[in-house]
Symmetry: C2
Subunit: 211 residues, 2 copies
């Protein structure tokens, strides 16, 4: 996934010659805490946060050019960078938004932290049930009931708790991947549990075929 | 994971009787775009964003109580809520921060979107190698080389591309879980690939034991 796929193209941009008071109205109207400052060609020449605008309003500064931060201090990404880079910059520098440039240095979008949250959270929200369905369709000759039975057996072996196959099925219908990795103690452990279930059904399938 | 585990306890809070100009200085100094407004007991009575402060500065409003948003309009979570709830609220309402309350309605923290990004991105950053190591330790009687060989075979079957076990090993050493699920087309497909590899090594192990 590239930055251009997660960026907001509906960003606002202001000019160095704009009045601070007008920028504050524009930011409030569009609910943007930050905005890029661009020249006539759309190139990034500065960055204004609501802190800069508040300071300008307090001190009676008239123009954006007198409150903006210089471009060399702005964390930015290229539209063709991996989306992962924008994610890491956001987390590392604790940013709410990161301007996105094209190869000519023009601002073409802004990556926002809450949009990243939405994108990243989708993985966590996948139902565990979906993973078992995929596993079931991959393991030819293994029925859904056999898979649930194996899952119940592995769960008992690992946790010491008895659970019926139907209860297991009910549980994975309601739980998300995020909850499951949290409950099992991490991605690797969650996956190891699946492999153990897979190993059991495969061994049973082979034993059955041998008869 | 609970909200209290991902919230920022170093938040700022202001009072309804504080001056708007002082709040703007405090927000700028601490780099907070938003702040909860609390009463003498620390209970949430309002919420101020930098838009409210900018408006107050523009219009010459003196007190926080005259620019703050009423508590009933503030999206908030309880410290014991699942962290997942704060994540979903942040994504759904496009928020940069969400106040966290205790059972008495006191503000005990603030969840920030970039902190959520950091927490959520950790899962994506896990090396694929780690998952194979866990798989290898679970599958008793299967060596690492056998696992890599099976992985290379499955890769060829699925993509048509020849890859040596050593090359496969090199690839998973460098790639992250996030890149892998993106490259394979989603979480379910990624897991299905792993299950196929698991099935092959288990079948080979059983065949070997039979000899």
């Amino acid at each position: 996934m590239k930055v251009k796929e997660i960026m907001d193209k509906e960003f606002i941009a202001v000019s160095p010659g704009d009045r601070v008071v007008d920028v504050s109205l524009k930011m409030e109207k569009t609910r943007k805490f930050t905005t890029p400052v661009v020249d006539d060609e759309g190139k990034l020449v500065g960055w204004v946060t609501s802190f800069d605008v508040m300071r300008g309003l307090r001190d009676g500064v008239e123009l954006v050019s007198d409150v903006m931060q210089p471009p060399e201090r702005i964390v930015h990404v290229n539209e063709n960078d991996p989306a992962r880079l924008a994610v890491l910059e956001t987390a590392h520098h604790k940013l709410v938004s990161v301007p996105v440039l094209d190869d000519e240095g023009r601002v073409v979008g802004v990556v926002r932290s809450f949009d990243i949250v939405e994108t990243l959270s989708q993985l966590y929200e996948i139902k565990v049930y979906k993973i078992f369905e995929a596993m079931n369709s991959e393991l030819k000759g293994v029925s859904w009931d056999e898979l649930m039975e194996a899952a119940a057996i592995i769960t008992r072996r690992r946790t010491g708790k008895r659970i019926k196959p139907k209860e297991y099925e009910e549980r994975i219908r309601n739980s998300t991947f995020g909850e499951a990795i949290w409950a099992t103690g991490g991605l690797e452990k969650f996956f190891v549990g699946l492999i153990a279930i897979g190993e059991l059904v495969i061994a049973r399938k082979i034993a059955r075929a041998r008869k």
